[in-house]
């Protein structure tokens, strides 16, 4: 099969009512990582999110109604799978993630091509200066302890959505992606499918408009829901097995080593 020598790379930008911000995010990605195509998932916005993203040259998928962050991300991974991308990176449409770190993530993913299927940017890895609201920090800490225990590797920032995966990750997430607050569960899915995870230290912006997708009244629900999902996930060894592609076969070879 005639394939380009270089990797096909996609930046997936989920955006829900992010007019005024999403254009900047697309621009920043193109400036810092011009080798990435930009796909914006307009998750049922009622403002000019889609128009703004398109004006900046992004491809835009417009959901007919709001599916939530999980549905939006899965849409992006489905697109990546269908259009034959080798690498996909998630960049939040609210400007929280700094596209200047994309090349760093890519380097980490390729340098560890035999070690990692997903690399993600952690705010808390050797980067103590970052200020996070206490509730969110606490939740992060609990998830961090639980996931570190389950995956037997250090996970310092399990709620970070700044993630880059290879083809195996794309295939997995296109088939199945968690619903409401997907980041933590997605990590567990990766682990259950023997996809390997690696952390890269990054800094993040405070949320674009100072609002978080998780506000305080919802944090309790978030905690319980995700912990329940983690617990149930332990009893569900392989929710949707990834079809054995050549890559998967070569990748799975030795079972995931405990680190």
């Amino acid at each position: 099969m005639a394939r380009k020598a270089e990797l096909r790379k996609l930046a997936i930008v989920p955006a829900y009512n992010e007019a005024g911000m999403v254009g900047r995010v697309v621009r920043e990605i193109e400036r810092n990582a011009s080798d990435f195509d930009v796909l914006v998932i307009d998750d049922g916005s009622t403002d000019r999110t889609a128009a703004e993203a398109e004006a900046e040259g992004a491809v835009v998928i417009r959901h007919p109604y709001n599916l939530g962050i999980g549905g939006a991300m899965q849409s992006g991974y489905k697109y990546a799978l269908r259009h034959d991308y080798d690498v996909a990176v998630q960049v939040d449409g609210d400007g929280q993630h700094k596209p200047e770190y994309i090349p760093e993530l890519l380097t980490a993913l390729r340098a560890r091509s035999d070690k990692a299927d997903m690399v993600y940017g952690s705010r808390f890895r050797g980067n103590p200066g970052y200020k996070v609201p206490l509730g969110r920090r606490l939740g992060n800490l609990i998830f961090s302890v639980v996931l570190t225990a389950i995956t037997r590797q250090r996970i310092t920032d399990p709620t970070s959505g700044f993630r880059m995966t290879n083809r195996r990750g794309i295939e997995l997430f296109a088939r199945d992606y968690p619903h409401d607050y997907p980041e933590v569960e997605a990590l567990l899915m990766l682990h259950a499918h023997h996809l390997r995870i690696h952390e890269v230290a990054v800094r993040m912006n405070a949320r674009g408009f100072g609002r978080s997708s998780i506000d305080y009244p919802r944090s309790a629900y978030y905690m319980v829901k995700v912990l329940l999902a983690l617990f149930v996930g332990l009893f569900r060894r392989r929710p949707t097995p990834v079809e054995a592609t050549g890559e998967a076969e070569s990748g799975v070879g030795p079972p995931v080593e405990a680190r």
Partner: protein
């Protein structure tokens, strides 16, 4: 329930004060001084009423229970009490000793039967209507067959209970529940609980399916716009990409 009350009454009677008197019935009249009914009405709390051999109609027995009175006959074969009005109050071995209580022949019984059969008719009408409603919904394809089966079963169960009135008591006995009404509440609660759980599952599945449809619609809309030239051609023709996706199962990939 009645048995319980009477037992309680008997217990209380045993514990009655020693001041209780003994009264003697004088004649077999239905009413008036010396009759059984009159004597009962005259009796004070805890009094014993002695009844000589003979057959005695009983019209006013209600105060027996309230005052813990006991009727003492001359022997089961000698003394017979025929309840005509206060039949509920007298019971052999509870507050009647040494006398036979004849089967009550009070006219109120037919009233009770009438009420019971009226309730039965209402229950029959309701359940038959439910049955027909479900049938009609299925006929118009408004209700999927598997739910129809469920509701038909529910309607049938109710119909059976409406016709076979003893059924509920048998059911309650089998479940170890004293009050038949409670048995049906527990059963109904259980059925409703599982039905709701089932609908939660069905709703979750529908939400998942709807999500997939929305994602597909959005993707197709993008492709339509690309084909129309409203947006730049997508990176990698989608048809070609789809084809290559099917062709790509083997071979290790670069990068990854």
């Amino acid at each position: 329930m009645r048995l319980l009350l009477l037992t309680l009454a008997a217990c209380l009677a045993l514990a009655a004060p020693a001041s209780a008197a003994t009264l003697q019935v004088q004649n077999e009249n239905e009413d008036g001084p010396g009759s059984l009914g009159y004597t009962i009405q005259q009796a004070g709390p805890g009094d014993t009423i002695k009844v000589p051999p003979g057959t005695y109609p009983l019209t006013h027995g209600e105060t027996l229970v309230d005052q813990n009175n006991v009727i003492q006959g001359a022997g089961a074969t000698e003394t017979t009490i025929e309840p005509t009005g206060g039949g509920e109050a007298v019971e052999e071995g509870v507050n009647v000793f040494g006398a036979t209580v004849a089967a009550p022949n009070k006219p109120a019984t037919t009233d009770d039967n009438k009420i019971e059969s009226q309730a039965q008719i209402v229950a029959l009408i309701v359940t038959v209507t439910l049955f027909l409603l479900v049938f009609e919904l299925v006929r118009r394809r408004r209700l999927a067959e598997r739910y129809a089966l469920l509701w038909m079963a529910a309607a049938t169960a109710l119909l059976v209970l409406a016709i076979w009135t003893q059924g509920l008591e048998v059911l309650a006995d089998a479940m170890g529940i004293q009050e038949p009404a409670n048995a049906i509440f527990i059963l109904a609660f259980g059925v409703i609980f599982f039905l709701l759980l089932h609908f939660s599952v069905a709703t979750s599945r529908l939400a998942e399916e709807t999500k997939i449809l929305a994602q597909e619609t959005a993707r197709l809309e993008l492709e339509v716009r690309a084909v129309r030239g409203e947006v730049p051609a997508l990176n990698g023709d989608s048809a070609a990409a789809e084809q290559s996706q099917h062709e790509r199962p083997v071979g290790p990939q670069d990068g990854g």
